[in-house]
């Protein structure tokens, strides 16, 4: 009889389960009532969140290393979903607590506090599905735009003639939401096309002409991709914010008629369906379809220009270029096609011969 393998993970799972059982007793039932009477601060829930984040990461890392097939990736997606679920729970706690019993000022203060944090919850829900290099661009386009502004002010000072108008619009976009940001992004793009963009796209001369032009083209494609992407993410955030305000108003009305979700699960169902419906209405519009196509096109152009630049840089190395490989693929394709055609001809000829 073989001995049972000494599986350290069984102890980890048992310890985890005990932990959650302990937390469950702590935040509800007798201990909670006692804490309320003594007026203890219930920041334990936030401490629990920190502990949960650490454990979720441990489980996700373990599942990724040892999971079979899709297990690791799926567990990470489930962890991301559970994380969003928990963050939404915190939002719902505030919403249910403050809107029912507190003053209008407290409600307004809560609304303002959650306006930013809510958008983080929303973007964190989906950022895990975006390719790693692009995730940062979906978190907060205003942060990304600020970096671009720093870059342009350092290196392209002569171009920054309209900086007064710019900085005013930029400040407005930070504080008044996505409409102002959309206007800022459009104005920035127009300015760029008419000034620095013209300089970037102008033909070069001299011995390094080709390489210099490639560099400028790749930079230009990068700028266009960033501005288009910024416009896209601002639009997505705008819908998220509008839905948030809608949700707050809706919840107030539901409270007054006592038809509000009674449990967090009910609230979660209501929340995600409301958001799905709002984004669905945006996605079906012609304007969104055009903008999405522009983002994809700008990203594709950027990829192509970067590829050409890298190929130019690697020209001295014994590595075939894309054009070399494409030529080879084309030759193979043509040969296969001819072979197929000849095979069919032969088959027809043989069949005719059989019949004779």
């Amino acid at each position: 009889m073989t001995e049972k393998a000494n599986n350290p993970f069984e102890s980890i799972w048992a310890a985890q389960k005990n932990l959650f059982d302990t937390w469950q007793k702590t935040v509800s039932g007798e201990e909670a009532k006692e804490a309320d009477e003594t007026g203890k601060d219930y920041a334990k829930v936030d401490f629990y969140k920190t502990w949960m984040d650490m454990n979720t990461k441990l489980l996700a890392d373990t599942a990724r290393k040892f999971g079979v097939g899709m297990a690791g990736e799926s567990f990470e997606r489930m962890s991301a979903g559970a994380d969003t679920y928990y963050n939404l729970f915190k939002f719902w706690q505030d919403l249910s607590g403050k809107t029912a019993s507190e003053s209008a000022e407290a409600v307004a203060s809560m609304t303002k506090k959650w306006q930013k944090e809510y958008m983080e919850v929303l973007s964190n829900s989906f950022s895990a599905y975006i390719p790693q290099p692009y995730q940062v661009f979906f978190k907060d386009p205003t942060d990304v735009m600020k970096n671009y502004m720093d870059l342009t002010s350092k290196f392209y000072q002569p171009w920054n003639m309209s900086s007064d108008q710019f900085s005013g619009m930029f400040d407005q976009s930070l504080f008044t939401g996505s409409d102002a940001y959309l206007n800022f992004a459009k104005f920035w793009k127009e300015n760029y096309d008419q000034t620095l963009g013209k300089f970037i796209q102008s033909p070069a001369s001299g011995i390094g002409k080709e390489y210099y032009e490639l560099q400028m083209q790749s930079f230009d494609s990068f700028m266009k991709y960033m501005t288009t992407l910024g416009e896209f993410t601002a639009l997505m955030q705008k819908v998220g914010k509008e839905t948030y305000i809608d949700l707050m108003n809706d919840y107030q009305s539901m409270l007054q008629s006592d038809v509000q979700p009674k449990t967090f699960k009910e609230f979660y169902e209501y929340w995600w369906k409301k958001n799905e419906s709002a984004y669905g209405k945006l996605f079906i519009t012609e304007d969104f379809a055009r903008l999405l196509a522009q983002v994809v096109d700008a990203g594709t152009t950027y990829k192509r220009k970067m590829g050409e630049l890298i190929e130019q840089q690697m020209e001295f190395m014994p590595i075939p270029k894309k054009a070399d490989m494409d030529s080879l693929y084309r030759s193979v394709y043509e040969m296969k096609k001819e072979l197929r055609s000849l095979r069919k001809e032969m088959k027809d000829i043989l069949e005719k011969k059989k019949q004779e």
């Binding site: 799972w13 719902w92 590829g307 096609k337």
Partner: protein
């Protein structure tokens, strides 16, 4: 914040317990995942490779039942993998067809690589599909076979039948896009503005992950959040977990798309809607839907958000078949194959229709 001072009409304690129970289920589920071996339930209906060409494999499924004289070739879409029709024994549409007595062949398109970037729709339809049809006809000694096309495979099957009506006995299309000029399909709206030339010239093979991102974006909250939250709540159920992981594997197992094929598919169909206009050319030949005069069964899903019914239904108006009908089922696009209805209701209807005409 004091939990006990929340709205008295809200079940705080119950809600907190729900959240904690979710975490406990995830712990148990992670433990289950670690114990899972290779999936031994997917794509297991016995079959043999009867024909190969480049990356294509043609399978014939093995059956113990008395089989229909006319073989049926299943033409799956290029955008996903065909084993979804044999996802697990209790939901296998293929196994269902075999039990009903159909003789099933299926094309496995394989995974295109960069050397396939120049493959055109003509290569797929007049090349690969025609070669498979001819192979079946010669080995089974029949003049005509049944064609069953799934989604984009249905579009290809329709085009094939219009170009080679003499080789097709009966045609079944399932959730197949035919009219691409509809207003209420997200993919159709989005495809209309795509600069596919730039994409194909840059990438050659359009990555499967890119297609997946587009599908998920159509229902972001449902497909990227709720699906996983709901699953986490059942994660301690080994059967539910393994079924879920099996579907997940299929969903993300998307092949790349041959550049020239998707270029024409987007430009001529999504953007030009040339098929029903009678302007589509494949291999230099005009595709005339009126040349389809074989019995036609056009199956669509009522809750299909990928290929809305309005895109599938019109096919029957453009063919000259006299024996033709549409059939709707209250399922979604994928539900047509993996829901509880697929084996119980959908398979018998299609099988009986084919058997009575074979």
């Amino acid at each position: 914040m004091n939990l006990m001072r929340m709205n008295p009409m809200v079940d705080v304690e119950g809600s907190m317990n729900e959240v904690l129970e979710l975490q406990k289920k995830m712990i148990r589920g992670a433990s289950l995942m670690m114990e899972m071996g290779d999936d031994d339930k997917v794509n297991i209906t016995p079959k043999e490779v009867v024909f190969k060409e480049d990356k294509l494999k043609l399978y014939r499924y093995v059956s113990n039942e008395d089989q229909c004289v006319t073989p049926t070739l299943v033409v799956y879409a290029l955008v996903n993998r065909q084993y979804m029709m044999d996802i697990q024994p209790d939901k296998s549409v293929i196994a269902g067809f075999l039990e009903k007595g159909l003789d099933i062949y299926m094309i496995d398109w394989g995974y295109p690589t960069q050397d396939d970037k120049y493959l055109t729709m003509d290569d797929y339809i007049n090349g690969y599909i025609d070669d498979c049809v001819d192979h079946i006809r010669s080995t089974r000694k029949v003049d005509k076979i049944n064609l069953l096309g799934v989604c984009q495979g249905g579009t290809f099957s329709v085009i094939y039948t219009a170009l080679h009506p003499e080789k097709v006995k009966n045609l079944v299309t399932m959730v197949s896009p035919i009219d691409f000029g509809i207003e209420n399909g997200l993919l159709f709206n989005w495809g209309r503005h795509l600069n596919i030339d730039n994409m194909v010239d840059t990438m050659g093979i359009i990555p499967g992950s890119m297609m997946n991102n587009a599908y998920m974006m159509m229902k972001p909250f449902q497909l990227m959040l709720d699906k996983y939250v709901s699953m986490a709540q059942n994660m301690d159920d080994p059967v539910a977990l393994s079924n879920f992981l099996r579907m997940e594997k299929w969903i993300f197992d998307s092949p790349g798309q041959a550049g020239e094929t998707i270029r024409q598919f987007i430009k001529d169909l999504y953007q030009g809607n040339k098929l029903i206009k009678g302007e589509l050319e494949i291999g230099g030949q005009l595709v005339d839907l009126k040349r389809i005069d074989v019995p036609l069964l056009n199956v669509y899903a009522e809750y299909d958000h990928l290929v809305p019914p309005e895109s599938s239904i019109p096919l029957n108006d453009y063919v000259s078949s006299t024996d033709k009908e549409t059939m709707a089922f209250p399922v979604g696009h994928i539900g047509m194959y993996v829901s509880s209805r697929s084996k119980k209701e959908i398979v018998p209807v299609i099988s009986d229709w084919l058997l009575s005409r074979s």
